[in-house]
């Protein structure tokens, strides 16, 4: 049980980073479907940086920076040129999938030393599930802290209010004197940094190595998590851990020696089915979605100067 919990938390972390970032982006009214592409480029840049400098921390920074650069590309087209956001996001994912494969071509399968746990092992003794809770590297806790900080930022600060105002009604925001496009740009870049961190966590700590298309749909699952959480950070956290559990279920069933005659491919498809089911369940509660979804999500905005 302890091992399962520990693995679940690790599997949830990349989802949590990416989903929190996308949540902020969407709250500002921008739908970026390029999460998968940003995660992949973040993963490969983080991996190469960590490999050549020997520093996991620098790797994570590089991953975030790569995510920002990718998000900047999206912002240029979707915000600067007022393009269709869904199409621009798809372009970002196609571009990022190709680019990450190109950058990482010489690095496939090279192993990286595993990141060190943040807390000394002695701390975990005596606490129930201590190893599952305290035995991780710094990024796991960073993700949790960020989720709480984002809740506070969105719900309790002036900045969060401005962000939500722009996402709900860009015209009113503009009329109030808010710099709509700048706020959206910042939110989009933040989403990129978080997706980059999520990708970095995959290639630095989760696997830790680089493989083409290693995100395996996690960017898309992160998008679904934002809907599932009805755009609330703490619920994103719950959702991410839930999905972390579903993702590692497969490994535990295979490793448990249980003689189940169940094809591995069916177990591998569980997270994707779970995503669909979760979307169905949440859509039964339409009022909650309507109340919380940013009203101008995905609509391009251009101030008539």
């Amino acid at each position: 049980m302890e091992a399962f919990l520990a693995a679940m938390i690790v599997a949830a972390t990349p989802l949590l980073f990416a989903a929190l970032g996308e949540l902020v982006t969407e709250r500002s009214g921008v739908l970026n479907l390029g999460v998968e592409g940003m995660m992949l480029v973040g993963a490969v840049c983080a991996f190469i940086t960590a490999l050549s400098t020997g520093s996991t921390a620098l790797g994570a920074v590089a991953g975030a920076a790569a995510g920002v650069a990718m998000a900047g590309l999206f912002a240029l087209v979707a915000l600067g040129f007022s393009a269709n956001q869904a199409a621009a996001g798809l372009a970002l994912t196609i571009f990022g999938t190709g680019l990450s494969g190109l950058i990482g071509a010489g690095y496939v399968g090279v192993p990286l030393p595993k990141a060190q746990p943040l807390f000394p092992a002695s701390w975990a003794e005596g606490i129930p599930y201590g190893r599952a809770i305290l035995g991780h590297d710094a990024m796991v806790y960073l993700a949790v802290v960020l989720a709480i900080l984002l809740w506070w930022f969105l719900a309790r600060t002036r900045g969060g209010l401005k962000l939500r105002a722009v996402g709900d009604n860009a015209d009113s925001g503009h009329a109030l004197g808010l710099p709509v496009l700048w706020i959206r740009l910042l939110a989009t870049l933040f989403g990129g940094a978080m997706a980059g961190l999520g990708g970095a966590y995959l290639s630095l700590a989760y696997t830790p190595m680089w493989g083409e298309g290693m995100t395996a749909g996690r960017g898309w699952i992160a998008l679904a998590l934002v809907v599932f959480a009805t755009w609330r950070p703490l619920r994103v956290m719950v959702g991410a851990y839930l999905f972390g559990g579903v993702m590692i279920l497969q490994l535990f069933v295979q490793g448990s020696g249980l003689q189940i005659d169940f094809p591995a491919q069916f177990l591998s498809s569980l997270p994707y089915w779970a995503t669909i089911i979760v979307l169905v369940v949440i859509s039964r509660n339409l009022s909650s979605i309507r109340l919380n979804s940013p009203a101008s999500l995905g609509k391009p905005y251009r101030p008539d100067a």
Binding site: G80, G217, F266, I276
Partner: protein, 355 residues
């Protein structure tokens, strides 16, 4: 400082010029990319975009590559016009291949059903069924079709993987994950002997022209366009939004299934884990390059097929990684979307405003 100023009406000229401008920009960016990779940019561009025209066989290969892209691109063009975002064409393609494969493998050659039409229909129906899942969930429960159709793509890949490694594997295949070779009756007739060009090319042209007429001349096309552009107006006109969502998804799913069936029956000739389903994503770019017009998608499919064949040549001749093609495709869509801003906006050199 350059600013964008709204045009009084969308520019028809720019709508036609934008794809050409985007292709030009992609070529320039591609030259820079090749220079970064340490290749001679002009030579690399030649391999990428001119070598596919070198001989008759190569030209036929471009058309072979364009068939699934055109079929799926035309379906997606209709779908996107109706503001329905089916991005799971790759999954519907895979299901189409599975459906066609099931018919080809399990219908005995002596059966009256052992004719090519049966696996083609089976593939189309399987693709439609796979697309019916996001359609049902969107119309009945309001679930976002983008995420559902995409998730089902991953499921489809795993399903095919299981079939060819498990129950359908050829027992005498030396352990390779693949089925038996399809029987002769399920082969797609060739158009030109000595090449791989098959009658699917004619089907693709017929489908694109038919859908083009539907969008331009028929009530269904009008409904789809109105639903996509102004959903409230469509509601006032009494058009059922759910009906249009179903139509758009079943159409694009069925065409993706047909593309998968044709690909499995013609160029692959059996089922295996890799059957070229990636084309389902490329078809998104095809649809946009073709101005979300089914006939335009034919041209878009040709452009992307040239770059795909060129990419294969570049892998062999220049040892360029295969991912360069994906980078190209992403860049092309980016440039296209940016250039499309010129349809509705006029760029203006403006002095910084004094505030």
């Amino acid at each position: 400082m350059i600013t964008l100023e709204p045009r009084p009406a969308p520019s028809r000229l720019m709508a036609a010029l934008s794809p050409l401008l985007a292709i030009l920009l992609t070529l320039i960016a591609g030259a820079l990319l090749f220079a970064l990779l340490g290749k001679n940019p002009l030579q690399a561009l030649r391999v990428y975009f001119l070598s596919p025209f070198d001989d008759a066989y190569m030209r036929a290969e471009v058309l072979v590559k364009a068939v699934p892209l055109a079929l799926m691109g035309a379906g997606l063009a209709v779908c996107f016009r109706a503001n329905v975002w089916n991005i799971g064409a790759a999954g519907q393609f895979t299901l189409g291949a599975i459906g066609a494969g099931a018919a080809a493998l399990f219908i005995p050659a002596t059966s009256p059903f052992a004719v090519l039409l049966v696996p083609l229909i089976a593939g189309t129906v399987f693709g439609m069924l796979w697309a019916a899942i996001p359609a049902a969930l969107r119309t009945r429960l309001g679930v976002n079709e983008i995420l559902v159709s995409l998730m089902l793509t991953y499921v489809a890949t795993l399903l095919l993987d299981w079939l060819v490694r498990g129950p359908w594997r050829n027992p005498r295949g030396f352990g390779f994950p693949q089925t038996n070779v399809f029987p002769d009756w399920a082969g797609v007739p060739l158009l030109v002997e000595g090449t791989r060009l098959h009658v699917g090319a004619l089907i693709a042209v017929a489908v694109a022209v038919g859908l083009g007429l539907m969008m331009a001349r028929m009530l269904r096309g009008l409904r789809l366009r109105v639903t996509g552009a102004a959903p409230r107006a469509a509601g006032f006109a009494g058009f059922s939004a759910a009906g249009d969502v179903w139509f758009a998804l079943l159409l694009s799913g069925g065409l993706a299934g047909l593309a998968g069936a044709l690909e499995a029956l013609s160029t692959v000739g059996r089922l295996q884990p890799e059957i070229g389903a990636q084309a389902g994503f490329t078809a998104i770019i095809v649809a946009f390059l073709g101005r979300l017009n089914p006939v335009g998608a034919l041209l878009g499919a040709l452009v992307l097929a040239v770059s795909a064949i060129g990419g294969e040549n570049a892998q062999i001749l220049l040892q360029l990684p295969k991912n360069v093609t994906g980078v190209f495709q992403g860049m092309l869509l980016f440039f296209l979307l940016a250039c499309d801003a010129l349809i509705n906006y006029r760029p203006r050199l403006a002095a910084r405003r004094m505030a």
